[in-house]
Amino acid sequence: MSLLALLGVLSSAIFSGTSLLYTTLGEVISERGGMVNLGLEGVMLVSAAMGFAVTSTTGSPYLGVLAAMLTGGLMNLLFGYLVITRKANQLASGLATMFLGFGLSALIGAPYVGTKIGALPRYLVPGLEFFPRQYTGQFRFDFLIYLVVPAAIGVWFLLFRTRWGLGVRAVGESADTAFAAGRNPHTLRYQALFLAGLLAGLGAAHLSIAYTMTWKEYMTAGRGFIAVALVIFSKWHPLRAIAGALLFGGAVAFQLLLQASGVNVSPFLLDSIPYVLTLVVLMAWGGTRKHAAPAGLGRVYQGSE
């Protein structure tokens, strides 16, 4: 096992963790507002396809990122229309959004299968200029990677240090109380969902435009669901979500490491690590989870007339 291979594993862990962290941050916001979006997988797929299509046609990866974000936001608003305005069941609406994402992304992406795009430019991590290129080559990252931890801090600030964040959290705990206190649960929930969609779109854009640089059907491969699991794992807290994403990135890296060193462990069992770990953590936190989950999670706000 050479040092070079080790660095490569570390680098790919960072790449695969980034898209996940953006998506998880978005889901933290919407779940704090009381909405579980099981359709995140579909939202990500459509965003990834849209971002890739726009990048491929215009040649500008930045426009692609923008398009992916907006697509994510719009997909989430569609979900929001069902669960907020039409007061539909959140789990069922999420699954419907997931199916829509599978289909829509296949339709959008079909002409682009096999095409190549120019990726987001990558910059060397500052401070590494003095090391041999051979070793630092793996540590050239695009701006989305550099921005992901600041984004987590930004989401934390937004949720816990602003009036808007307080409103969203209040709606997530008890929509009726928030309404009585003069906040509009419907508006706040729509805003939270739109922001969550933008972040999910960013995560998807990173996947298709910066990381794989290709489009193929079902390329998110369960990341949307892992994001939902990681939200619980991180106890609905944006900063703990960083740890969750690192853990997932670590699991991917561990898997690559084992393969590289020739240890014969089935990659499929390693794939299940994030899920199993989340389950174990949930059990361990079983007694205390009342303090963690937003009390109004999954509840429909019936309005007050």
Binding site: A92, L95, T97, L100, G103, A229, S272, L279, L282
Partner: protein
Amino acid sequence: MATLSTTNTKLSLFRSKPFQVGARYMVIFVVAFILFGLILFLAGKHPVEAIQDILVYTLGTPTGFSEVIVRMIPLLFTAIAVALPSRVGLINVGAEGQLYIGGLIAAGVAITFPQLPAWLLLPFMALAGMGGGALWAFLPVFLRARGLVNETISSLLMNYVAPTIVSFFVYGPWRSRGAASTPQTVDFSESARLPTFFDTRVHLGLVIALIILVLFWYVMKYTRWGLEMRAVGGNPQAARRNGIAWARYLILAMCIGGAIAGLAGMSEISGIHGRLRPNFSPGFGFTGFLISWLSFGNPVGILIMSFVIAIITSGGDILQLKQDLPYAVLNILLAITLYVVLAKPTFFERKKA
């Protein structure tokens, strides 16, 4: 209203419940197809031909229709697997995982005892599949009954663990060393295959699924268990105070649901595939959840919705063939159907509930 329906027979037909239910499903279907056509049109495809192809293939040709029925079988199983626990207030999102583990264990039996006669091997496989599904359902409901973890999220998470275990066995110890380049187990012996009807792929699983559906309806409506389960679902606290074993009903309902989902896995690998493959279910468990939810856990509704969803999903092959559209595009039609129901325009509003 009663006087009106006796004086005007024509009106009473329109007011009758079966007619209204039928009309509601028809309108859902029509609106969904129109929206689907619109999306195809915007994407520059030929919407009219596409929809025509789907309908003519699924409802107009014997092969197509038999494929609809084939697709309907696992959906019936998984929908019941969700509907039964929902009667005691449990949300089982884990039918997909239960289906996979059921298929896995049933395949294990089929591979280990290929020489057994069919009358012994098939029931053995079915029991194994049910056991596997029940096992996969037990952990979430056990944690729920102990008040540790909500069953919704744990059963959802376990959905993603189950296919990886199946892949582990199919790529690893059970992989056929034969000519096939795709990873799969050895072909099952003839005695491990469910019999099929009339030279189609429709297999005995259909009969089993329908029997279970009738049993579900009967037990819920006419037995003490059904009554007590509804009591537990309606008001757990009151049920407990009346001496109903609350935790036992939760665990029983969820595990039986899991067993039925496991049966779906067994019937798929035994009736359709004849071997175990990775990812052998294209989301039957999730679709079953939606069917159960859309039909409010009502047995007749489950039957109708399974049929409708089966038509939609089996139209994908023909779209791929004739319109050069990716198979996954069919999910749009499925999603729109669900959206129409979930958004419940006032026309579909149920009088009660």
